[in-house]
């Protein structure tokens, strides 16, 4: 029964990855969207929509792939409304995002009302050959469920796409100087729509992680605020998928430690641990702002939150 310190840390980190994964999907979605210049504060609502959709589909079809795809699709459709309002109609991104969260929370609660007491089979962990035999790392990262592996792939793909391809350069340019993009003939509309909707789909998959893996049931307000954590982590991650991964697992570890430290002799206040990721986020925001002001490295997309008016600005 006695576990060594290293074993204990491994157990904490295994759970940190699980708790961090839905937040990672959400943060990745936010990174894509905000890189193109559009803030999405609707993530909490989108997560709930994704969670409910995936649960219902899994309940009736038994297929996780269908369930997660449906979550992405429906969350993407809901994000389309956000895109419509703040890209085409140029309304406030903040207000539209908040409305999306309220909409998502309300509609999922309403439609999910009759699902009390219903459960689906949880997604089982898969041991990856070779990789899982790496000491420590293997146990933490490669004995997880399929959605966790999908999140690794997503990080790699988004990273590559954003920083090593032409499309990625264009997306990032939309967040920096859309008027320049426009002047060289790129469609700001198309790129922003695509980025925001794909981002929303990622958030929906993050929501699906709750009923697929963490709880196996739907309950009103299932995500309990994780969407807001993702909003904060986009800043913490300096709009970068790799750092998003680090941030999400850090937050997951904070939850896991809050719980497991109570069972051993180390006494750190659970309130402190609950607050810790948010302090880091505020510090990250300060650093990002200072760096931006010094014009050395612009980490925050320069046109973030601004609607694009063709030929009217500058």
């Amino acid at each position: 029964m006695e576990t060594t310190a290293i074993e204990w840390i491994v157990i904490v980190l295994v759970s940190a990855v699980k708790m961090g994964t839905p937040i990672l999907f959400g943060t990745l979605g936010g990174v894509i969207s905000e890189r193109a210049g559009v803030i999405n504060l609707g993530m909490e609502g989108l997560m709930l929509i994704g969670a409910l959709t995936s649960f219902v589909v899994k309940l009736y079809t038994g297929s996780t792939i269908l369930a997660v795809s449906a979550a992405a699709f429906v969350a993407g459709a809901a994000t389309f409304l956000h895109a419509l309002v703040c890209i085409s109609m140029r309304a406030s991104q903040i207000a539209s995002g908040l409305a999306l969260t309220m909409f998502g929370t309300g509609v999922s609660g309403l439609l999910g009302d009759s699902l009390t007491g219903k459960t689906v089979a949880p997604l089982m962990d898969i041991k990856l050959p070779i990789l899982s035999s790496i000491p420590l790392i293997g146990k933490i990262f490669f004995m997880q469920d399929a959605l966790v592996y999908f999140s690794y792939i997503s990080v790699a793909v988004i990273w590559y796409l954003l920083f090593y391809t032409r499309i990625g350069l264009n997306i990032r340019s939309m967040g920096e100087a859309p008027e320049v993009c426009d002047s060289i003939g790129l469609s700001v509309m198309k790129y922003r729509y695509a980025a925001v909707i794909i981002g929303g789909m990622m958030v929906g998959i993050g929501g699906a992680y709750f009923p697929m893996v963490l709880t196996s049931f739907w309950v009103d307000n299932l995500t309990a605020g994780r969407g807001w954590i993702a909003v904060a982590l986009v800043i913490f991650a300096f709009w970068h998928p790799g750092k998003a991964m680090f941030g999400a697992y850090l937050f997951g570890a904070a939850i896991s430690l809050q719980l497991r430290l109570q069972l051993i002799d180390i006494k750190i206040s659970p309130y402190f641990l609950a607050m810790f990721p948010f302090i880091l986020t505020i510090i990250a925001l300060i650093i990002a702002t200072i760096r931006n002001n010094k014009k050395k490295i612009a980490v925050m997309p320069a046109s973030l939150g601004e609607a694009f008016f063709r030929g009217e600005k500058h």
């Binding site: 029964m1 839905p22 609660g109 709750f210 309950v219 309990a224 939850i255 497991r260 006494k267 309130y271």
Partner: protein
């Protein structure tokens, strides 16, 4: 003069006819009752149990309304809104509504306000709660018999007297049949955070617990226990459906019986301010949903204890028992008073874990 008297009588009769509803008492079907919920009605726990009570009133013909997920900070507006619409009874079902309930009650002296789990009353404000700790004690007996590792985990929500009381009663139940068993507590510092509750259950099971009991609102911990082939105990509502192969039993609250009583009192005009704390004898709380693995023998022992509690031959907080550090809490032949039970702020012997300090 006679004519005048007749007129007077007529006027009085007319006045009585209009206001007479309160003078002569009215039918329960004419009542309007409002409910303010802190969580969603689909939480499968606390708010769900209150909503079952509301539906019970609805079946009796009472007109009911509710608003769910009302933040405690915004409750005054919601409560006032119901009071303005002339609701006869307003049930506010979270501890945090305590001051907003009293404030609005002072503005609307005609309406009756019932505040759940609080301690402040007024002319038209009563408080109520169920002694679910008695049912918790009984679920503790089940856990005490069923554990093999002699480690039972409890997920604490918030470290307030209500929850400390429930954990203590559960532990006393466990140790009444299994003095070697220990009850480990993890606080999640939330009423409702399903994925965190599930992770807390995993932490407890990693630490050797083979049964997990909860004081939180969702069934996530039961599901986590089922996934690992362990057992769990539900809270507030019967949680069998969520994890049939893990569910030993649930300690539940049946608000319907109490809401019916209050509605009848208000309808008859006999309602008076009180601090109601009904026990298992009234049916407001009970142990339900025994799983198949709980043998008939254990069920019989639990039911026997329940009968003793109902007959007031046995009290959950009767001596002798010790505090967590081993110092005596209550001596042989004595028991805690209701006030002491209500405001208990220490763990009993057998609980492993501490009250979080900020």
């Amino acid at each position: 003069m006679k004519v005048f008297r007749l007129h007077l009588l007529l006027i009085v009769a007319v006045i009585l006819a209009f206001t007479g509803t309160t003078v002569f008492g009215k039918d329960i079907k004419d009542l309007k009752a409002a409910f303010i919920y802190v969580g969603p009605i689909g939480d499968g726990g606390w708010t769900y149990s209150h909503d079952l009570g509301r539906k019970h009133l609805e079946k009796l013909g009472v007109t009911t309304s509710y608003i769910e997920s009302v933040p405690e900070t915004d409750s005054i507006r919601v409560i006032r809104n119901f009071a303005r619409q002339n609701y006869d009874i307003i049930f506010t079902t979270s501890f945090g509504y305590i001051d907003s309930t009293l404030t609005v009650a002072s503005e609307f002296p005609e309406a009756v306000f019932m505040h759940c789990s609080g301690f402040k009353t007024a002319e038209n404000v009563g408080t109520y709660f169920g002694r679910i700790y008695q049912a918790k004690f009984l679920t503790g007996i089940v856990a005490g018999y069923m554990t093999k590792s002699n480690i039972i985990g409890v997920i604490g929500s918030h470290p307030i007297p209500e929850i400390i009381r429930h954990i203590n009663a559960f532990t006393l139940g466990v140790r009444s049949v299994n003095p070697d068993a220990k009850v480990k507590v993890i606080w999640v510092n939330a009423w409702f955070d399903p994925s965190k509750e599930g992770a807390a259950a995993d932490s407890l099971m990693d630490d050797g617990a083979d049964i997990v009991s909860i004081t939180t609102d969702s069934a996530a911990a039961l599901k986590a226990a089922e996934k690992r082939g362990k057992y769990a105990i539900g809270n507030d509502s019967d949680m069998t459906l969520y994890a049939p192969s893990a569910h030993l039993a649930s300690a539940v609250l049946n608000w319907g019986v109490y809401y019916e009583y209050i509605a009848k009192q208000v309808a008859a005009g006999t309602w008076k301010t009180s601090k109601d704390w009904w026990g298992i004898e009234s049916g407001i709380t009970d142990i339900v949903g025994f799983g198949d693995m709980v043998t008939a023998d254990i069920r019989e022992k639990v039911n026997k204890k329940k009968e003793e509690i109902i007959a007031e031959k046995y009290f959950v907080f009767q001596g002798p028992f010790n505090k967590q550090d081993g110092s005596p809490a209550v001596k042989e032949g004595e028991k805690l008073t209701d006030d002491q039970i209500w405001s208990i702020d220490y763990f009993v012997e057998g609980v492993v874990g501490s009250l979080p300090k900020s």
